[in-house]
Symmetry: D2
Subunit: 286 residues, 4 copies
């Protein structure tokens, strides 16, 4: 809450670029007595898409009024509008297999308040991470997956999302490939961490590929999940320097440090409405 | 020039933060048929200062009209407004002593069009860099400086700035300390490169200080010049990893690579109106 | 264990530089049938100190024989020699106050085998971290400290080191200043993480200092503890980029990620005998 | 030259790993009264290859004696030995097309003494870089290349190498693909800079590929030239952070800064005998 009982709100607008959009949005906010605290805008010239993220202070309870004014002033702009209280927190479901370094890191950041999310449920095709979930008093659901039950398992995932009212799915080293259909349903709402600096070393065992190729840096990539494996819009990437003296196992350990940080950054950016998917790329307001 | 004969303009606004400022600015731009291409805003909460940088497209020749509309709509906001054609280029005077690595790098970036500036004159207290200036067909002025003639020499510097209609002074390893008076006159218009990661290793021979201290990273800092030596608002910093095996001379060479890049970035940011001095800090829109 | 039942050993030698040292050491190793796997040597020219770290493979049980051969061949070199089985693990005592991010990270790396150490005991002047210690089945000792009991508390620390047979003390954000006497006793055996890029922002609240100064990078420094506060030999440093938009609190969070990684690297380097203290600097073989 | 008239020498040894190699080498050096200043060794476990780089001080004129002792002590080790005075400088031929940023940077570092090489000749398939060569008083040879004359042109390249007694060829953005035959002849003696972070974005227009893919970092790779395009042993890599706001042209400019530094580092490493090609990878002693 800001000064004198005012609240902070987060607004995002995405629409085809047209003259007057900035003025229309700021007018709607002025109509409800809002003071703009942070504002970022970008026009993607390739697609002609306008993206805006605004944090403003206003009296408590103006959400509906602000939405009404935005709808009215933005008639004809064909805009997708998101408006919420800054203090509200998205509910996130984490998928994990056996490696727990990303999971443990997300939970630590969640526990210390660094990640502004709620985590009602953790799902895994293995039981290795159950103790970690339990230690944090988070529901753990074991959903084994096989060639035969994949469709059912994915149906269960979707049902869990509904049950737990989840708006984001994080694949924290979940070593399963989602079906095209599930990817499509989760478009823009599922973030994966890939353990390479994409587009290098797609597919399996990227650190072993990196070792064999003798690269001098290894990295990790957080991206939106799409049906095209390892090809979704990239959200964040980072690398770390390695040398000839490191084995594939050393690269794996060093890379895990990068994976953790990259995934945590991506989840935080999403939770703060800083990511816009535009075509197969992202606009990220830091 | 943008589509169908439109021009790009750059606008910056800096003022005490108040409700309605964003709407007022966007209204003035809409009044002249401008389409906003890039827009960044920030409110510095410590000082209550609002900063905005906007790139917009509009018909040729709207500068005066836009200024008029801005003046009118921003009455009472106490705003500092800068408005110019994006294709116009600030005129820059470079000061240098004997080391030429930063100078050579700036000239290369200027020659290849990377740095959107004009460089009418290079000034030095030595003659070492005269051949470099001549090779680029840039006026070179030798202004020796001593304890006795310092005041006169600085007066000559100011006179040269006027003669050459210069709006920015770049100290590209100019190993002289400017007087308080000159610093004050050049406030916000003089950028220095310091060869350390400030605030570490202020003063003389920072690489030798760094070597003696055994640091594992050395760096460089571009900052606005103020009367407080090495204490001006920081614009940009970068570091590079070093080891025990590097001598002070090696640190110097490695650091020069960093100095070059950091100074060039700072000059480019300034030339594109991306830097706002707010108190003793900078707001930089990348 | 290497091929055909051979074991790996780690050897370090530090002595005044003299012709023949390399040959003498390699001769001693050849005497016991050792095969050198890794070898790094460095001569610090300022102090004339020679440092060598060697990993070799030899038959099990040659430690005593190798020591004997080294003593004999290195007569007159005034060498400090450390020789141990590579698979042996140093015993480490962790000191912590209230912040647990470094502690949690060290424990995670210990649990997953990344850090080749044993952690028999965690000591704190507060009880906040007791649950974390308990969750890892590690002894937790609460040693409150005040102006009055400081000498006794430090005596207890030393007694605990003896009880638990500890060779390294890690100050994982232990917000107490050790006495000169204790620093002296722990010379080369106590590693601290400082939450700034030293020598910038010594002393208290470095992230708030960094915020006030408006730096564009913040960092962390792992160093050996000495009586000179924040002046001990630097082992490792790292930085992360920040902007004007980050508050002092954000810098703190971002910096914690750096602290974790820097401290973990330093502890691992120490545990693998890769660090040599030479004067007030370190030689680190990566 | 070191203390009391002694000279510095650089020695490299590469051979199948066998017990006793380190002792044999150090024995040979001791035989000629050498004092080892720097020493690095590595065993590549995949190939069983031993690599050693040693800098030692000895009396002037011991080269032949040292070679003799090494040959004698290393009988049966099947070692490739390189031994030279540290102050001798390899002669380098630079190939370039139209982009001159790498060429200008190499020449600057050569002129200031940072790069310990001689550059007797610059060759290009265009004439754009002739003025730069002339300004540095370096021979410029224009060798246009087409589908028809490629074999002759490459023969001319080889002839020039002989004429100018060149031991290293640097492709400083030379936009031509060398024939398999030429690659084979230049194995280990030709370094190329590729303007992407390999193995990502092989082939043409990598910055445009990177822009289209929306990556958050772009990079450059220096590698030995082999018949397999963009697949030679990697020597050095670096990246720089980019955002959605950068155009393909901006990526190109930012990337050029990285290319320059990466290529210069690789050439310097080669000139100091720090690079060993082992299979399709490199061992690099920093």
């Amino acid at each position: 809450m800001g000064e004198t009982g005012r609240m902070q709100y987060v607004l995002t607008v995405q629409c085809p670029d047209r003259i007057g959009i900035v003025h229309a949005v700021s007018g709607a906010l002025l109509d409800v007595g809002a003071n703009i605290v942070e504002n970022a805008q970008f026009e993607d010239v390739d697609s002609g898409t306008f993206c805006q993220r605004t944090v403003f202070e206003a009296d408590p309870g103006v959400t509906e009024a602000a939405r009404g004014r935005l709808d009215q002033r933005l008639v004809g702009f064909d805009a997708q509008i998101v408006l919420r209280l800054a203090e509200s927190r998205p509910r996130v479901m984490i998928l994990v297999s056996k490696f727990d370094h990303c999971l443990v890191d997300l939970l630590y950041r969640w526990r210390t308040g660094d990640l502004p999310i709620d985590i009602p449920v953790i799902v895994s095709n293995h039981t290795d991470c159950e103790p970690v979930a339990k230690a944090h008093n988070i529901e753990f659901v074991h959903l084994p997956v096989s060639m035969e039950n994949k469709a059912e398992q994915e149906a269960s995932l979707l049902a869990l999302m509904e049950t737990y009212d989840v708006s984001l799915v994080v694949l924290a080293r979940y070593m399963q490939i989602l079906s095209n259909d599930l990817c499509e349903r989760l478009r823009g709402r599922a973030i994966n961490i890939h353990h390479s600096f994409l587009p290098g070393f797609k597919g399996a065992r990227p650190y072993h590929q990196a070792y064999a190729r003798g690269v001098k840096l290894v990295g990790a990539t957080a991206h939106f999940v799409t049906g095209d494996l390892d090809e979704g819009p990239i959200i964040e990437q980072e690398v770390v320097r390695v040398t000839h003296a490191q084995s594939a196992e050393s690269l794996t350990r060093l890379g895990q440090d990068v994976e953790r940080v990259v995934l945590a950054r991506a989840v935080k950016l999403w939770a703060e409405n800083r990511i816009f998917a535009v075509g197969n790329k992202t606009v990220v307001f830091p």
